[in-house]
């Protein structure tokens, strides 16, 4: 394998454990292409680079999600959001725009809030991801979750996981010192039902409670 590198893109130095796909799988696919009937070969040959790349361009991704180590094989183009929702079945993180324009996909990466829809999965390699599913301690809700319940910080609930992840970060960052500051620092999360004042109230209550979030 190692002396026939051209077909396979070199692995990034930053990615640990340079192993790609095992040899057997590669040869299986190549053999399948070679032995397929004429029409299939024709179709495949038009996009042969693509076909081969599709198999080989998956990369290993190791990340800790909600305290659990996940070892995956992903396409570099897969976003953290799609990996969470479609591969790990962690559907609490929402897709609202897929372009960093709504905040529904907000998660914490190494403790900082980010838009998971604009985060390539491969770039989270070796990092810790916290989603809404990882916020509560078993049955015990996180104080922010409790406060959202109490102050009705949502209606339909779809933006809620992103709002809560953002709200927790808002306090951790030290941006919850006044109503105005909270509003500004929560403006990356759109709520179409219009729960903003309730969300602000929830954050103020948690902030005033003084608990470590």
């Amino acid at each position: 394998m190692s002396d026939k590198k051209p077909i396979i893109p070199p692995n990034g130095e930053g990615i640990s454990n340079g192993t790609r796909r095992d040899f057997i799988k590669q040869t299986t696919v190549l053999t399948a292409v070679a032995m397929a009937p004429g029409t299939v070969v024709k179709a495949a040959s038009d996009h042969i680079d693509e076909q081969i790349a599709a198999v080989f361009e998956k990369m290993p991704l190791k990340m800790e999600v909600n305290g659990k180590l996940q070892s995956l094989s992903v396409e570099p183009r897969s976003t953290l959001l799609d990996i969470l929702r479609e591969q790990l079945d962690l559907t609490g993180t929402k897709k609202g725009c897929d372009h960093g324009q709504c905040g529904a996909c907000t998660v914490h990466v190494d403790g900082d809030r980010v838009n998971s829809c604009l985060t390539l999965g491969v770039m989270v390699n070796g990092k810790k991801v916290t989603t809404i599913e990882g916020l509560a301690k078993g049955e015990e809700l996180h104080p922010m979750q409790e406060a959202f319940l109490k102050h009705d910080g949502f209606q339909c609930g779809y933006c809620t996981p992103g709002q809560i992840m953002s709200a927790v970060a808002c306090i951790r960052e030290g941006h919850a010192n006044s109503e105005g500051e909270i509003r500004e620092y929560m403006s990356g999360n759109i709520c179409r039902c219009g729960a903003y004042p309730n969300i602000v109230n929830a954050i103020q209550e948690v902030k005033a409670g003084g608990k470590t979030v």
Partner: protein, 716 residues
């Protein structure tokens, strides 16, 4: 003005928290796209890039050969939808009706689905979709409302209405006539419309679908695919907002079902945010003209309200922009005219406060303009023309306390601080203005069936097919049941969002609590009576359900109750009312508008669930602020294509735009509409908010903006 007294206003923490709140704050609540099925495939739509014409060629070769692609559907190879009425069979001259997806090569609007790529992963489907290339035979299109909009308007939105003398406002001593426009606004719920379609057998289908009515969707799908209703299962457990966009079955839902048929695998289709602008309706562009006249002391002489609303070339969509003028004020003469303008666009649909929200912007702006012409307080003008009976049909109202709502709102906003002259108050470089406006919306009650099951452990399960788009249906139902049965809310489980459950209407028109809530009330009444009978001697008012079941050796006791409106629903005019008060700050140099303070009062009968009701009013007000200040779907008419079909360019309010909003209720039960005394509130929460903002902006600046939205460029 009467003396105003300030009342304690509800806070966000008052009342029972949502029964589904825990699921929503933990991420456990699952929406339609989140029921991943084994062996599921992913579908992505390809939209037309022209606005009108036909597809000449469509090259799907590259897409079909792309890795992971399982199928590419177009009109050339798609299975037929058996329920599609052939265009040839339709009446000549009539519109062809809802878009028949992948039916033929006709392009009726820009972004119309012309192909769909199904692949084994989302990424591969999306890439495959980018490889589909079409060529077209273009025809000239028209997406732009003409300047002389009333000319050449073909279709009618209903008969002209006249009460008294036609256009009598013209004879009044104080009068004005103005035009108002409302752009197309897009629902843009946070959840993208999504469906997972799974064929369980060639004649049996299960879908997880974003819908406001599981059974309406079931019926429409059954009709389209010629299936038995009982062979179509629609699940819509959680709906991430809709505001009207999920009141009907759209082409993408049919497409996903077709896709699942072709690849013989469950198929998930999630619309993109740009798709949301062209696939699931919108509030239509509407032009309006109001002529209004009054005597010098403010008594209305007449109102004439004309409206022209945008629709598509293939489907008529009419709503009620002129309704508010028929019913909000006691004018002796009322004339309304409403027409539709057909353009090469996708078809609009109901959006929160459909028609009325648009109409109230015109009427309540005009009322405000009239108040300045009369030098009269806007509230006094409204009270002077307070309708005690429905001006439309003369019926008595089932209940109306709008006058109390005016007083409550005025007290809360500090109306006494309003300057009668515009541009008379400022602070720190910001002009200060106050405005108010109201709204109304019909209060309805539909038929609903409820199954209520009391189990041996003392838990009560209530079932309804209704879906919940966010207002808190389950919470309200639980409260009704808890009160009726005299048990703790924690013992009640409300099951919903499943078409196989007992019949419920769609969640629309602010009528869910009235219909389903009444059915819960009735079912619990019957169930309780059953227990009381089992006790003998008429029983007590607080039966011990667990003991009775045990004593009678019963595992459970259940009732299935149908609940429907009575003669009173015809006898009375039933309306919900609202009034919104707004204080704005307008920056003199840059035209930036800040909403400083809001007070909203709803008169919608008895409040069942204080916490969620308050949130609905707050949310409606915020929707109205968006409509007033920033929302506008913009099409480049040269291409007939949206140029702001995303959340960065189509602005909706963010947290920084919104102050605390004081939401209040008159909270007096309506004695006639239903046994629980509750009327709808979702629509009225928004209706009237946009004109309240526009009126406040006028009070602050002396500039009357009659074309929404009120962006900074219109104020400098």
């Amino acid at each position: 003005m009467e003396t105003l007294t300030k009342q304690a206003i509800p806070t966000s923490a008052d009342g029972m928290s949502r029964v589904d709140g825990r699921a929503k704050v933990t991420g456990a609540a699952k929406y339609s796209a989140e029921y991943n099925q084994p062996n599921m495939a992913y579908a992505v739509l390809v939209g037309s890039t022209i606005t009108k014409g036909t597809v000449a060629t469509i090259d799907t070769k590259a897409a079909s050969a792309a890795p992971g692609v399982l199928a590419v559907l177009t009109y050339l190879n798609s299975p037929k939808v058996p329920g599609h009425i052939p265009t040839k069979a339709q009446k000549p001259g009539s519109k062809s009706g809802p878009l028949k997806v992948f039916y033929d090569n006709k392009v009726l609007y820009n972004g119309q689905p012309i192909a769909m790529v199904v692949a084994d992963t989302f990424e591969r489907a999306q890439y495959g979709a980018s490889l589909v290339k079409a060529t077209y035979n273009k025809e000239p299109h028209d997406t732009k409302p003409p300047k002389n909009i009333t000319q050449g308007v073909g279709a009618w939105g209903g008969k002209d209405f006249t009460k008294g003398t036609v256009d009598a406002w013209k004879t009044a001593p104080i009068k004005l006539e103005q035009e108002y426009t409302h752009p197309s606004d897009v629902h843009n719920p946070m959840e993208l419309h999504a469906i997972i379609a799974r064929w369980d057998a060639p004649d049996k289908l299960t879908v997880w679908d974003k819908t406001q009515g599981t059974q309406a969707t079931r019926d429409d799908i059954a009709k389209a695919f010629k299936l038995k209703k009982e062979d179509v299962q629609v699940n819509s457990q959680y709906v991430g907002g809709a505001f009207g966009s999920a009141l009907q079955v759209w082409p993408h839902e049919v497409a996903a079902i077709l896709g699942a048929q072709v690849v013989k695998r469950p198929v998930k289709l999630v619309l993109s945010r740009p798709d949301m602008f062209t696939s699931v309706g919108y509030r239509p562009y509407t032009w309006q003209k109001i002529g209004i006249g009054a005597t010098a002391d403010g008594k209305l002489v007449g109102i004439t309200h004309e409206a022209v609303g945008q629709t598509s070339t293939f489907e008529d969509f009419a709503e009620g922009p002129i309704n508010t003028s028929k019913g909000l004020y006691a004018s002796p003469n009322i004339t309304t005219r409403y027409k539709l303008l057909s353009l090469d666009v996708n078809t609009p649909t109901w959006m929160r406060g459909p028609g009325e929200a648009t109409g109230a912007f015109a009427l309540e702006s005009a009322l405000d303009e009239l108040s300045y012409a009369l030098k009269m307080d806007p509230i006094d003008l409204r009270m002077k023309n307070y309708a005690k009976n429905d001006p439309d049909n003369g019926k008595e109202y089932s209940s109306k306390f709008l006058d109390e709502a005016y007083a409550m709102g005025a007290a809360q906003i500090g109306w006494e601080n309003r300057q009668a002259e515009p541009r008379a108050a400022s602070q720190n470089g910001w002009l200060v203005g106050y405005g108010m406006a109201g709204g109304m919306f019909g209060a309805y009650r539909d038929v609903a069936v409820i199954k209520a099951i009391m189990k041996a452990d003392g838990t009560l399960t209530i079932q309804s097919a209704v879906s919940d788009i966010g207002p808190g249906t389950g919470t309200a139902m639980t409260i009704i049941a808890a009160n009726k049965m005299g048990i703790d809310a924690g013992k009640i489980k409300f099951e919903m969002g499943d078409s196989s459950l007992p019949d419920a209407p769609m969640q629309g028109g602010s009528a869910t609590v009235s219909a389903v809530g009444s059915a819960v009330h009735d079912a619990c009444t019957v169930l309780k009576e059953k227990f009381q009978k089992l006790m003998g001697n008429g029983g007590t008012d607080k039966p011990d359900y667990v003991k009775i079941l045990k004593d009678n050796n019963l595992p459970s006791l259940e009732v299935l109750t149908k609940s429907q409106p009575g003669p009173d629903n015809q006898k009375y005019s039933m309306q919900s009312w609202s009034v919104h008060f707004v204080k704005v700050l307008v920056h003199t140099a840059t035209g930036v508008v800040k909403i400083d303070k809001v007070a909203c009062v709803a008169d919608c009968g008895k409040i069942i669930s204080p916490k969620t009701a308050r949130s609905q009013v707050v949310g409606g007000a915020i929707g109205g602020i968006g409509m007033a200040l920033m929302e506008e779907g913009i099409i480049d008419h040269r291409y007939g294509r949206y140029v702001n079909n995303n959340f960065a360019d189509y602005h909706v309010p963010v947290s920084a735009d919104i102050p605390q909003i004081d939401a209040m209720f008159v909270n007096k039960p309506d004695p006639y509409i239903n046994p629980i005394g509750a009327k709808g509130m979702a629509e009225i929460a928004l209706i009237g908010m946009a004109p309240a903002v526009a009126n406040a902006v006028y009070n602050a600046t002396g500039k009357r903006v009659r074309d929404l939205p009120i962006t900074p460029d219109k104020l400098i």
